[in-house]
């Protein structure tokens, strides 16, 4: 059994769909954390999911924007740790706006040519989890 020690302050992201953890590592820009250590556990056994990934991040709380997690998979469990204790289990919901995380793939969109433009998507249909580019309204299909 692989053993990774607990963390003093930071996050434990549990119940990540197996294989998704590296994508989440990129989306959350964990590699750019100045004051943080990340452990990625892949294909851990799970009674609920069969196999799952887990990410543990030792970092000051509130140094990561977790809104995007709701977009990636709102079934992920977010545990917030302080002084070695779980102080909060945060539920996830679909963010109303996603900024500079995903890119518009429509070649006719202004974002394909205009430099310095933020990539903004808005939640167009919550039921079907549809996001559209704020500029050209094209549906995002890359998820």
């Amino acid at each position: 059994m692989l053993n990774i020690s607990g963390i003093r302050e930071g996050y434990v992201l549990d119940h990540i769909k197996a294989g998704m953890s590296l994508k989440i590592y990129d989306y959350l820009k964990l590699g750019e954390l100045e004051d943080g250590t990340t452990a990625i556990i892949m294909n851990a056994r799970s009674n609920k999911m069969g196999k799952k990934d887990i990410i543990k991040v030792e970092c000051p709380v509130d140094s990561i924007d977790l809104d995007i997690l709701g977009y990636i998979d709102h079934n992920i469990t977010v545990n917030i740790i302080k002084d070695d204790e779980i102080v909060e289990k945060r539920g996830l919901s679909l963010p109303h706006e996603i900024r500079n995380v995903i890119r518009c793939k429509n070649p006719r969109c202004i974002t394909s040519v205009e430099q310095g433009l933020p990539q903004i998507f808005y939640l167009a249909d919550e039921k079907n989890e549809v996001y559209r580019c704020r500029y050209c309204e094209e549906k995002y299909r890359g998820k």
């Binding site: 006719r108 969109c109 202004i110 205009e114 433009l117 249909d125 549809v130 580019c133 309204e137 549906k139």
Partner: protein, 307 residues
């Protein structure tokens, strides 16, 4: 600062006020001849246009204002790589209001983020063309008395035709509207119109391929051109361009009071023999575009506190 990016930026009540103002302008031209004296409209057209640009320019000149601008990306700093954001920052110091056409979808919206003057979307790629929609709505209201209780056939390039997208978005706000969407399978309306607008709002619509079958049911037939500039592949364009041609024989299938509208320019999709038919309203529609743009310019300048 109020801009016009989509026809939905105005409520139906505000559109009604705009149309009443356009009526007043049409009937009392002299009353408005100096309404914008000393004010300047910039027409920033990054892709070619005849009607829309001249219509905007005619509108401002009829109001006693001035016009400046460029008519293609080649004749502007865009050819040197200048961004839309920088261009509008500069234009804001030269003019009081700006109409912008751009081949990239969302470009006018980018302009609004950096503009100190009202911006009007004069067409952005295959996305929106709100002033054409105002013209279409104004023409329907002028010729039918009201907007509502209509079966509207949209025919041709429903995929890239921005006038179609804008018009559907605007018409679904009126009562008892039904659509018959007539297009080849390759040029059907995009999902953000079919799913998010029509289906989501429970608007009755059918998608068909045959214009002849649809004709007897229509109150309005809105023809569109298959646009060469929207295709990445010339072969696809040639295969699609003459898919629908409205001629006398097809007009015989239509109701006596059906109206034929077209945003123009037409290529082959309406035979010239149809021009003499009293139901052909597309040239009236083009003329109406000047009055509704005059009303729009006046309204936006007033709201910006410029007038």
């Amino acid at each position: 600062m109020r801009h016009l990016m989509s026809p939905l930026d105005f409520t139906t009540d505000e559109l009604y006020d705009l149309m009443r103002l356009a009526d007043d302008i049409r009937e009392n031209r002299q009353k408005y001849a100096k309404a914008c004296e000393g004010k300047t409209l910039a027409t920033c057209f990054y892709e070619p246009s005849t009607r829309t640009r001249l219509s905007f320019e005619a509108a401002m000149l009829n109001l006693g204002g001035n016009v400046l601008g460029f008519a293609s990306a080649d004749s502007s700093s865009a050819a040197k790589g200048e961004s839309v954001s920088d261009t509008i920052r500069v234009i804001s110091g030269y003019a009081d209001i700006c109409a912008i056409r751009h081949p990239k979808e969302g470009a006018p919206l980018v302009a609004t983020s950096h503009s100190g003057i009202p911006v009007i979307n004069a067409g952005d790629g295959g996305h929106q063309h709100p002033t054409q929609t105002l013209t279409d709505l104004y023409t329907i209201r002028s010729l039918r008395g009201e907007i509502g209780g209509l079966t509207i056939g949209l025919c041709g390039d429903l995929k890239f035709g921005r006038t179609v997208h804008s018009l559907i978005n605007a018409l679904v706000r009126y009562p008892d509207i039904r659509f018959i969407l007539i297009s080849p399978p390759e040029l059907v309306v995009p999902s953000y119109i079919r799913d998010d607008v029509l289906t989501a709002r429970g608007i009755p619509f059918t998608e068909v391929k045959s214009l002849e079958d649809a004709m007897p049911e229509l109150d309005i037939l809105y023809m569109t051109r298959v646009q060469r500039e929207r295709f990445f592949n010339e072969e696809d364009y040639i295969r699609m361009k003459d898919f629908y041609i409205l001629d006398k024989s097809k007009m015989e299938l239509a109701r006596e009071n059906m109206l034929v509208l077209h945003p123009l320019p037409r290529v082959n999709e309406i035979s010239v023999e149809v021009d003499e038919d009293p139901r052909a309203a597309y040239f009236t529609q083009a003329h109406n575009g000047v009055f509704i743009r005059m009303a729009l310019i006046l309204t936006l300048l007033k709201e910006a506190g410029t007038l």
